[in-house]
């Protein structure tokens, strides 16, 4: 039995037994290599579920909308390890109750989707632990290193060009499971901290603020980077933040539901080499 069939059966069982009221998974997309989020509410619909190496989106953001979990019922969701980490963060930040989230975990490796055993976010703790010890993506690091090698002036110019493309469609924000604020800082107008206009200065402000708000929270699912219609390499800026959180504070985002948000806590011996 392939993984897709296995997970369809599990989803069907969860639904028919009443263990969950909804399964959030992947379905066929508009082209053969696209997958789209689908919402399955009954066992006979589970044939719509697809699970293969194209299922890359982090679906945990669909757990956050107001009212979804307020009835106390559970929801099952297809998640890769990055999504499981997102659920941990959402739980740590009191956005979801982890007991109401049933995880249909899988991973993609070598062009294949493979099942991950477990149901609750805590079941995946060893996996996340091992991810932490492996460290952040070396591919991203290599790409970021290219930028780090530049002079500050050149690096500024690089981001100047990248951010000048931004149209403030907020796809990065909307697709991000971590961007759940009911009213984003850019939508606050008393005072208006971030210019709403999408000129380069306003774009700089927006992208810096978003990266900062994701510091130590980003799980590198790559959703924003893929969603960006103007191809700004958001992965790099978010990766840099993750790296700082890991290097300076040994913080690997989404380790567990008990993890304190990195900027909402401190240690007395935090490094401070740069402070005069």
């Amino acid at each position: 039995m392939g993984i897709q069939e296995q997970y369809r059966n599990e989803a069907a069982e969860l639904l028919s037994s009443g263990a969950v009221k909804l399964v959030i998974g992947y379905g066929e997309g508009s082209t053969s290599d696209r997958r789209r989020p689908v919402f399955i509410r009954s066992a006979d619909e589970t044939a719509r579920l697809v699970l293969d190496a194209n299922c890359i989106a982090n679906l945990s953001g669909y757990l956050v909308p107001e009212g979804l979990l307020s009835d106390g019922k559970s929801v099952a969701v297809f998640l890769k390890p990055d999504g499981i980490r997102s659920v941990n963060i959402l739980a740590a930040e009191a956005q979801v109750n982890p007991d109401q989230v049933v995880i249909l975990g899988f991973d993609i490796d070598g062009g294949q989707a493979s099942p991950l055993p477990g149901r609750k976010a805590t079941d995946f703790a060893p996996l996340i632990e091992s991810q932490k010890s492996t460290g952040l993506s070396t591919e991203l690091q290599q790409e970021a290193d290219q930028l780090e090698l530049m002079s500050a002036t050149d690096r500024f110019e690089y981001w100047n060009q990248q951010f000048s493309k931004c149209i403030k469609c907020y796809a990065c924000r909307q697709v991000c499971p971590m961007c759940y604020c009911r009213r984003c800082i850019v939508d606050v107008n008393q005072p208006q901290w971030v210019n709403t206009s999408s000129h380069t200065l306003g774009n700089f402000e927006w992208n810096i603020v978003r990266a900062f708000h994701l510091a130590g929270r980003c799980v590198a699912c790559g959703g924003c980077d893929r969603a960006c219609p103007v191809n700004i390499p958001l992965r790099l800026i978010n990766h840099r933040m993750s790296k700082e959180a890991l290097d300076a504070f040994d913080h690997f985002a989404g380790e567990s539901a008990d993890q304190k948000p990195v900027l909402a806590t401190f240690r007395q011996d935090d490094p401070e080499t740069f402070i005069l």
Partner: protein, 149 residues
């Protein structure tokens, strides 16, 4: 001859330590560079990174952020939180090409009037040697001129 470049520096300071330190420097008649505009805040924990960005946007060539030494915070923990925030924010600014030399962080207690004066002089000299932060200020200028389309 054009005027020699005088950097504009904005200092966000906590009222209990650094501001008191600045006060001490003043009442002790210590001399320090007049390039700094001080913005007083209740605590370093209140200093949002947005403040730093806005200062740069409004034409600052350098920014100084300063508060109580670790352990001295009037609110017990504000400066510890601020320190973490600065660590991350500093990395972020650096990665986006905003030179770290332009953003300074320091601890100055109410008793350190001399340190304050010294720091201001040092920072002013350093920023003066870096020159105006034209790259960022250029972005503001573009806004004020006609749309390029």
């Amino acid at each position: 001859m054009s005027e020699p470049f005088e950097p504009k520096i904005v200092a966000f300071v906590c009222t209990y330590c650094t501001y008191a330190g600045a006060d001490l420097a003043g009442t002790s008649r210590m001399k320090y560079a007049s390039n700094v505009r001080i913005v007083r805040l209740p605590c370093t924990g209140r200093i949002s990174p947005m403040f730093i960005l806005k200062a740069l946007q409004k034409g600052a060539d350098g920014v100084l952020v300063s508060g109580c030494h670790p352990g001295d915070c009037h609110f017990a923990q504000g400066n510890y939180h601020a320190r973490r925030r600065w660590t991350v924010f500093r990395a972020l600014l650096s990665f986006t090409g905003i030179p770290e030399e332009r953003i300074k962080f320091s601890w100055i207690s109410a008793a350190e009037g001399a340190k304050f004066a010294e720091l201001i002089n040092g920072v002013t000299e350093e920023i003066r040697s870096l020159g105006p932060f034209e790259q960022y200020q250029e972005l503001q200028k573009i806004i004020e001129t006609q749309s390029t389309y």
